[in-house]
């Protein structure tokens, strides 16, 4: 027995090299698993950019590699936000595009000319491997490398992170989570060692993070909070001072080099905490220094009074500057995190986004599974040891849990810390139960206990464990616990794979459905329509659609759009909303004034696709009402019983709105008379469809999801379009044999209703 043991478990010092080789191997395997589990969508569909925002990032990356960095930096985009344009180079976070551009150049240098699209598609999975590594380093600082490996594995496959980093999801978060974890690792390292070099490295990666994602504000506030808590706990030390000062000074200066950030770090409330703590830590350092030099008690009292006075003066100054408007107050996006009802009243454009909704508990369980209940245990374990870096975990946990609860999207920032805390728990359990040596039960002396005795801090209460550490006696107990946890871990892997495969791997540009025989059927209406636009419309035609589709039209159809997902100009979006929500007379005027050539709407009524424009319509109305309360009123879209209806009970305002007309134009003609049915809203439509006077149907995709209308030119005789159609309608009535000429107006795909 003992020989076997000595072969298997040599002295730790002699097996160190073996261990480090194993660690590298395990980390490589974890990275491979992390990358592999994100490739479902590439394997099932193709190498394609997903969703909406990635299309813009992709377009910007293409611009970067085509025109070079300086042109990219000064890019003014006149093909979006027509007629305003957008100073794209100064209003984006360039980190993502620059990263993929750098990879593209590096690969070309070693004679591997990879298409920029493939780099963009695979960037997020690649970086997830790095995230796992950063999580390993971070957790290693908290406990040991065993916990680090577990945390890396959790991080690699946790659905909460996969949701934003599958292949094709080319968004800022793709690289930002790696940067977040690595910056935190460097911060912990800096705070532990009190080294200006690590602080400077932390600042460098903070700069990278600032250039990559707006969520950098999380770091900007979390690190100062950590420092503040340490100071309040009386744990101020020179190490903290060096780490924080070097990070803040360098990091802030660096972050101001990003054009989109500019002077925000000294002008907005979001960044004031960091500045305030920077001032505070100087004061504390000063006092600390003087206390060492001057022992006089009176002097200390005086000093304390001075510090309090300076703090109050500084705080009052900050408040005054905020009130007078020199420092911008919290921007709505961040403010709505604290005052949760704020966005719904004041910024409907933020409240309208589905990822800004609060999180119900099933989402937590869905994204984190068993980690979610291991998480509090990990936090508890941190409280027991409570060194400086454990304080960081605690602060991070509480803040991130709150934010994730308020906004689904911020689950992303919670996931890393959940993985770390859960790994600490699981690794503690394994440390206890995987120990092959069993203690001997002895009641007289403490000989056998002695070597394992752990120094336990006396804290009292439920954190205490005054009894000495002994170990687990029975092999059965060990096997039972280790077995149970192995099952849980396997279940966790199955869960993650299932969630990734089923929920997070559809590109949303392409919809997949199952045929009755179980085979996969792909609904490709979006690309069909965008390709039609690309091939059949003049290069400079302007397309109006709701802002959700702006980036896709820009990326796939390469046509000028009025509004897109950047949402920087609320009035412009409201103008589009008004055009959609108003009657044709009003809308036509707006369309002409904005030189719109085509209008694009998404309609899911035939297929049962619920994310269509009629379901988003109320937000258009609300946003338009925010700007023109006289002309657009939400109430008029509800029936007198307060219902949102599209059938014969729909209000006149609803029926006359451009959106309704465009969605249901000729729709009833698909069905036998009186049978027309909207499959999304389960409504039976009137047999007479709406009539359009100022638009011509130009294209309708195979499953009617995308419908494109051409805006009619002004009448050649100077009449308005209503009298034109009345005139022509009157004529038609006489020669009734003419038939439905309107059909010929547009090309149309197969008209087969298929679900």
């Amino acid at each position: 027995m003992s020989t076997v043991k000595s072969i298997l478990f040599k002295d730790p010092a002699s097996t160190e090299s073996t261990r480090s080789i194993l660690r590298v191997l395990i980390l490589l395997t974890i990275a491979a698993a992390a990358v592999a589990s994100r490739l479902f969508s590439v394997i099932r569909f193709e190498s394609i950019i997903h969703e909406f925002d990635p299309w813009f990032n992709f377009r910007a990356s293409k611009y970067l590699v085509k025109h070079g960095f300086f042109d990219f930096w000064n890019w003014f985009d006149d093909r979006t936000w027509y007629p305003l344009g957008r100073v794209t180079g100064g209003t984006l976070y360039p980190g993502l595009m620059v990263t993929s551009g750098a990879i593209w150049h590096a690969l070309r240098m070693i004679s591997l000319p990879v298409d920029i699209r493939n780099i963009c598609v695979l960037l997020a999975p690649g970086f997830s491997g790095l995230t796992a590594f950063a999580t390993y380093l971070f957790t290693k600082e908290m406990k040991d490398s065993g916990a680090g490996l577990l945390a890396a594995a959790f991080m690699g496959i946790a659905p909460g992170y996969i949701s934003r980093s599958v292949a094709g999801s080319y968004d800022n978060e793709a690289i930002a989570i790696f940067l977040l974890m690595f910056t935190f690792y460097l911060w912990i390292k800096a705070a532990k060692l009190g080294s200006a070099m690590w602080g400077g490295l932390c600042a460098l990666f903070y700069f990278y993070m600032v250039s990559a994602w707006g969520g950098y504000v999380f770091i900007t506030n979390l690190i100062p909070l950590h420092v503040l808590v340490l100071i309040l706990m009386g744990r101020y030390s020179g190490r903290i001072y060096v780490a924080y000062s070097s990070w803040y000074a360098l990091g802030t200066l660096a972050s101001m080099q990003v054009p989109f950030v500019g002077f925000l770090p000294v002008k907005t409330s979001e960044h004031m905490a960091a500045l305030g703590i920077f001032g505070l830590i100087q004061l504390v350092a000063f006092v600390d220094y003087l206390r060492g030099q001057v022992p006089s008690k009176q002097f200390n009292t005086l000093l304390r009074a001075l510090v309090i006075l300076v703090t109050i003066v500084a705080f009052t100054g900050l408040v005054t500057l905020t009130v007078t408007g020199v420092i911008a107050p919290w921007s709505g996006r961040f403010y709505s995190l604290w005052d949760t009802g704020y966005a719904k009243i004041h910024i409907p454009i933020i409240a309208s986004v589905s990822e800004h909704q609060p999180t119900a508990w099933p989402s937590f369980f869905f994204d984190l599974n068993m980690l979610i209940w291991l998480f509090p245990a990990g936090v508890y374990l941190c409280f027991r040891q409570l060194t400086d870096e454990h304080v960081f975990i605690i602060v991070y946990s509480v803040m991130a849990s709150y934010f994730a609860g308020v906004m689904v999207r911020l689950m992303l920032t919670l996931t890393p810390i959940v993985c770390v805390a859960a790994a600490i728990t699981v690794s503690s359990i394994f440390d206890t139960y995987l120990e092959i040596d069993s203690p001997q039960e002895s009641d007289d002396d403490s000989e056998s206990k002695k070597p394992k005795k752990e120094k336990v801090k006396e804290t009292g209460g439920f954190l205490s464990s005054k009894a000495p550490y002994i170990g687990i006696y029975s092999i059965t107990s060990k096997v039972a616990v280790v077995g149970a946890f192995s099952v849980y871990l396997i279940l966790f892997v199955l869960h993650c794979t299932w969630v990734t495969s089923n929920a997070y791997s559809s590109p949303s540009v392409v919809l997949a459905s199952r045929m009755p025989d179980g085979s996969q059927h792909i609904i490709d209406d979006f690309r069909e329509a965008y390709y039609w636009l690309r091939k059949n419309t003049p290069y400079d035609s302007k397309i109006m659609s709701w802002w959700d589709y702006g980036y896709q039209i820009g990326g796939m159809a390469d046509r000028t759009t009025l509004v897109d997902n950047n949402t920087w100009n609320n009035t412009h979006i409201a103008t589009v909303g008004k055009a959609m929500a108003s009657s044709e007379e009003v809308s036509y005027d707006i369309l002409r004034k904005h030189e719109v050539d085509y209008v694009l709407v998404i309609f899911g009524g035939l297929l049962g696709y619920s994310g269509d424009d009629i379901n988003k319509f109320l937000w258009m109305v609300r946003i338009a009402e925010g700007v023109w309360p006289q002309e657009v009123q939400e109430r008029k879209f509800f029936t007198h019983r307060g219902e949102y209806k599209v059938d014969h009970e729909a209000t006149d305002t609803m029926k006359n709105s451009l959106m309704y007309k465009m969605s249901y134009y000729k729709f009833p003609s698909l069905f036998p008379p009186g049978q027309a049915q909207d499959r999304v809203r389960g409504a039976r439509l009137p047999s007479e469809g709406p009539v359009l006077h100022t638009l011509d149907e130009a294209f309708t995709s195979e499953n009617w999801i995308v419908r494109i209308y051409k805006v009619k030119d002004l009448d050649q005789f100077g009449r308005d379009h209503f009298s034109v159609s009345a005139f022509e309608g009157g004529k038609k009535k006489k020669g009734k044999k003419g038939g439905m000429a309107g059909r010929a107006a547009g090309k149309r795909g197969r008209r087969v209703a298929r679900i």
Binding site: P358, W361, I394
Partner: protein, 329 residues
């Protein structure tokens, strides 16, 4: 031919008289507006005055609030809106002491029953704008204001509406809220004093690691079990289920009930605690047989509760394929 100048003269005389009359009327209301006690700038109407105010040949705009302030009618909205309307009148009166062709007037139900009946009004408050009758034909129809209950500053909303629907520009001057300032400053001083006094007693708690640990863990558990969702969406605690029973678990993946989240929070807490017990408490037990039983017990608790959690989750998300024995939903 000779008649024409005569007619012209007569007409001009008539119009002068009418103008004179309407100027008189205007003057009357201007006086009323500046003299009416209580809130300056608001004309308090009765049936008679209302008739004058909205009578023909008026060259002024008037905004009339039909209200029922008497407690007998129990009109909460009326009483809520009254100070806002007073503010509106005041703001206008301060800028235009001679009222300059725009009046703010109130007709209370207790003095204007006939008018209410004549206009067929059964609800209050109603806010109407009467444009000048001699501006252009067809434009003298009164306009009605739509109250928006979610509006936090109704005075501004009304001001915008009046500005949009007449030629007058109304700006609101909200008086500075000294009460709020004083209560705020007082509150700060009070809190500071109280904390100074209570500091010796609170200090141990403030520096107690246990307290902070408990607070942090409870916060984490609350937030991760969807408490903020309850808070923001104001979900019901329980709902009536089918067959008269009470339903604890809401159907649907993105939906939850108050009690449901509490159950989940407790399950999480017990699961976390069993994990802690397994890794911290167990290896510190002296007796080997007791330890064996305890390890098995905690292991079982963990298994059963995790299985329970999985089964609830499967209930919420029907297509979820995994389960853990012993509870299989």
């Amino acid at each position: 031919m000779r008649l024409l100048p005569l007619i012209t003269a007569f007409t001009s005389l008539l119009s002068l008289a009418v103008a004179q009359k309407s100027t008189n009327k205007h003057q009357t209301f201007a006086d009323l507006a500046s003299s009416s006690k209580g809130s300056k700038g608001i004309v308090l109407l009765n049936d008679q005055l209302f008739g004058d105010l909205t009578g023909p040949n008026r060259n002024f705009t008037s905004v009339v609030l039909f209200t029922a302030l008497d407690t007998r009618f129990g009109c909460v909205l009326c009483r809520d809106f009254q100070p806002e309307f007073d503010l509106l009148g005041n703001s206008w009166h301060k800028e235009h002491p001679k009222s300059d062709g725009l009046f703010f007037a109130v007709l209370d139900f207790s003095v204007g029953k006939q008018t209410f009946q004549r206009l067929g009004m059964s609800t209050a408050p109603i806010l109407m704008l009467f444009p000048p009758s001699n501006a252009s034909p067809g434009s003298d129809q009164p306009l009605k204001f739509d109250f928006n209950p979610s509006d936090i500053t109704p005075a501004e909303a009304v001001a915008r509406w009046v500005t949009a629907s007449s030629k007058h520009t109304v700006t609101i001057h909200r008086p500075f809220n000294y009460v709020k300032l004083f209560s705020f400053v007082g509150g700060i001083i009070g809190t500071a004093t109280l904390s100074k006094l209570a500091y010796p007693y609170l200090a141990p708690a403030l520096y107690s690691r246990n307290l902070w640990a408990a607070v942090s863990l409870v916060a984490v558990l609350l937030f991760t079990s969807g408490h903020m969702f309850n808070h923001i969406r104001k979900v019901p605690y329980v709902v009536q289920g089918r067959g008269g029973g009470v339903s604890y678990i809401a159907g649907g993946f993105s939906n939850q009930l108050g009690l449901e989240t509490q159950i989940i929070a407790v399950v999480y807490a017990v699961l976390a605690f069993s994990a802690i017990a397994l890794c911290l408490k167990m290896p510190r037990m002296e007796s080997s047989s007791k330890q064996k039983i305890a390890v098995m017990a905690w292991n079982l608790v963990l298994l059963v509760l995790f299985s329970f959690l999985m089964s609830i989750f499967k209930m919420k998300n029907g297509s979820y394929p995994f389960f853990l024995p012993p509870l299989i939903a």
